[in-house]
Symmetry: C2
């Protein structure tokens, strides 16, 4: 994977002079197709200086017509309305270039799935190409749902302002619903804001989805009666689309206020479908299976995940069990929170082996608009899970108070 | 991307001594969970000889419990039924090792989506790890559909024995349904066996799905009345799951005998869902968006695509616009066609900028059980598309006859 992808500023976006309005569900907004709006996509391409112009042209053709220009060009309508342009080629290192292509938005057919085809379909298979950045014009957000709740909505759900939200994960796989619910209640009483299933908790016979969700929701409510504040339990949705639909319906009916999905396991269009559903829930996105793709993390997790409907995106923070650089993490968080006239900001949720001791660093690095997801390191040590959690909660509250004063 | 992944032989599979039976739909077979069957997954891991044992242990823990062994091990049931074992560690180059892990099949919860989590969920995000191979015990194929038609079924559909099937693609994006249908009719009259949509043909306003499918099916039928044999037109399904369901229903009702899907765009579990549908169609799988940085192509396209339900898998042949090696292509094809007691063989469909002139080489490389997918190079040259197609068809027929004689 290409490291250190820098996030491009949003300056190129045509976002001035229009009234901002969140739209949801997407069906309410007319799809603007056949417009002359363009999408802009940037790739890191390995090629010599002498060869890059031809390589960039071939890359542009690959995304849509899959034919040489001479062949595709026999039809003037195709040239005018389908073919893109190589907008810029900039050196990015030894035999490395940043190639930016603009292309009619209409090629995406108003379809989140087709968008992936025209951004990085066949070219994803070419080892000299990395998807580095994507910019979409406003009409794209007539059919891309974006976050349902976003940062403001999740803050409202959790009842937290002015500081990062604290989240943890119920684990390990193998525990029965009553054991996971007991953990959920403990974390809730200790003051966690969000308590999510581990992404590996599925619908195992030893821990059925329905029993787990019911038990954990009730445990969070019971704890809420003690503490005066109900922690948000976030069940993990996993399966083929029909199964996820049933899980989502069950969770909502049982009282869940948010849910988690792994968009690269389920497919990004599946995320978009459930994010667009009128009676759906805010969705946390887990990066599981997402490392397979030759795309920079900020583009995939920071932009596409948000545009396809994630309200919060979990990703590995630098220095944990995963090798993301601080620069990548910063760019990913910036992409999730970047101002956008059509799409709500989404929460960055750094995770992945973060030690409790690193909380001060995380607070400083991400600032208040983050969800700090600390799972495994709380579990370490045989005793005192409640006390360790409580200490973490107080540390975050204290740091937030100091930042304000 | 790791190059040159070698395909492991299937010898490790426990496939002897049982009656072979294809099962479909999956709902007919009882799910064997809580059994002590194991899945086996092999990774290429970058680590020093001194560090590899600890790294392999951490990798195994990451897939399920996401906790250190000391923490996860507090629950003996978890240790006995969830944790895997590092089965072998073999040197595979400088600071490179092949790590094989076995793990209870029950961790996958009888769910194709959860299988991806436990095979390559979090670990896909770790840059020192490449998914190299997967082996599943027979009970997994109670809930993984495998190909509906497979090689034998698609041969029957196309009415072709003893030689590779010839396929081409309708393109470019931008043509209206009548233009694409005219191409479809031309290819059919020239003797193509299979005529598929380009994977970028979606539900564009300038070429709606329904109009295109109707027009192309009718064109193939009309040509069939002339030639006495109806070419199989394969429409491209693309969208979120609900949209694909509508497209599939329309295509089937209109008379389509097969369809295409891009499983990495739509999500592999979506493929499994439609492959499991009792009134579904045989499915061609396109590799779009599947450019894998950290999974070897034979494991992803050769095994997972087949197991999740693809009847034919399209992939770039060596020497085209994509950089797959001959070794990778051979391993991919071998994985698709490997004998398996529970899963039908699937067709390899090499593609990706294959020149007409290379057909002899492809015939020799893949043998008869292949679909040769030749698109763009047929279109090159302003005139004579029918004659070029006809010549290609005759060349393949001749080569097949020579091989037999």
């Amino acid at each position: 994977m290409a490291s250190g992808g820098r996030h491009r500023s949003e300056r190129g976006y045509n976002t001035n002079g229009r009234a901002g309005s969140f739209h949801h569900p997407l069906a309410e907004v007319a799809v603007s197709l056949g417009s002359d709006e363009s999408l802009r996509v940037t790739y890191l391409v390995r090629a010599t200086a002498a060869g890059i112009a031809a390589r960039a042209e071939a890359l542009m053709l690959e995304q849509t017509v899959e034919l040489p220009r001479a062949t595709a060009g026999r039809d003037p309508w195709v040239v005018a309305h389908i073919l893109g342009n190589v907008e810029s080629i900039r050196p990015a290192g030894d035999d490395l270039h940043r190639v930016t292509i603009t292309q009619p938005l209409a090629t995406a057919a108003g379809d989140p799935a087709e968008l992936l085809n025209v951004l990085f379909g066949n070219s994803s298979l070419q080892p000299d190409v990395v998807l580095a950045d994507v910019e979409l014009p406003e009409p794209a957000f007539a059919w891309l749902p974006g976050p349902r709740a976003g940062i403001a909505g999740l803050r409202e759900l959790a009842g937290v302002t002015g500081r990062p939200l604290l989240a943890t994960a119920l684990k390990p796989m193998g525990l029965r619903p009553d054991r996971l619910a007991a953990l959920c209640g403990l974390f809730a009483r200790a003051g966690m804001d969000l308590i999510k299933d581990d992404h590996g908790l599925a619908d195992h016979p030893f821990c059925p989805f329905e029993a787990r969700v019911e038990a954990c929701l009730r445990a969070a409510e019971d704890a809420g009666r003690e503490t005066g504040r109900v922690a948000v339990y976030v069940p993990n949705l996993i399966g083929a689309p029909d199964r996820i639909a049933r899980q989502l319906e069950f969770a909502r009916a049982a009282g869940a206020k948010a849910a988690m999905i792994s968009p690269m396991v389920t497919g990004l269009p599946t995320l978009a479908q459930f994010a667009s559903q009128s009676d759906g829930l805010p969705l946390f996105a887990h990066p599981s299976f997402g490392g397979v793709l030759r795309a920079e993390a900020p583009a995939l997790f920071g932009k596409l995940f948000r545009w396809f409907g994630a309200d919060a995106v979990i990703f590995p923070h630098a220095g944990g069990r995963f090798a993301y650089s601080r620069e990548t993490c910063g760019a990913l968080a910036a992409a999730l929170r970047a101002e956008h006239r059509c799409v709500r900001p989404a929460f960055p949720a750094p995770a992945g082996g973060i030690k409790v001791e690193r909380v001060a660093e995380l607070l400083e690095f991400y600032g208040p608009d983050a969800i700090l997801l600390i799972g495994g390191s709380l579990y370490e040590g045989a005793e005192g899970l409640f006390e360790r959690t409580r200490a973490l909660v107080e540390r975050v509250a204290r740091a937030a108070a100091e930042a304000v004063s």
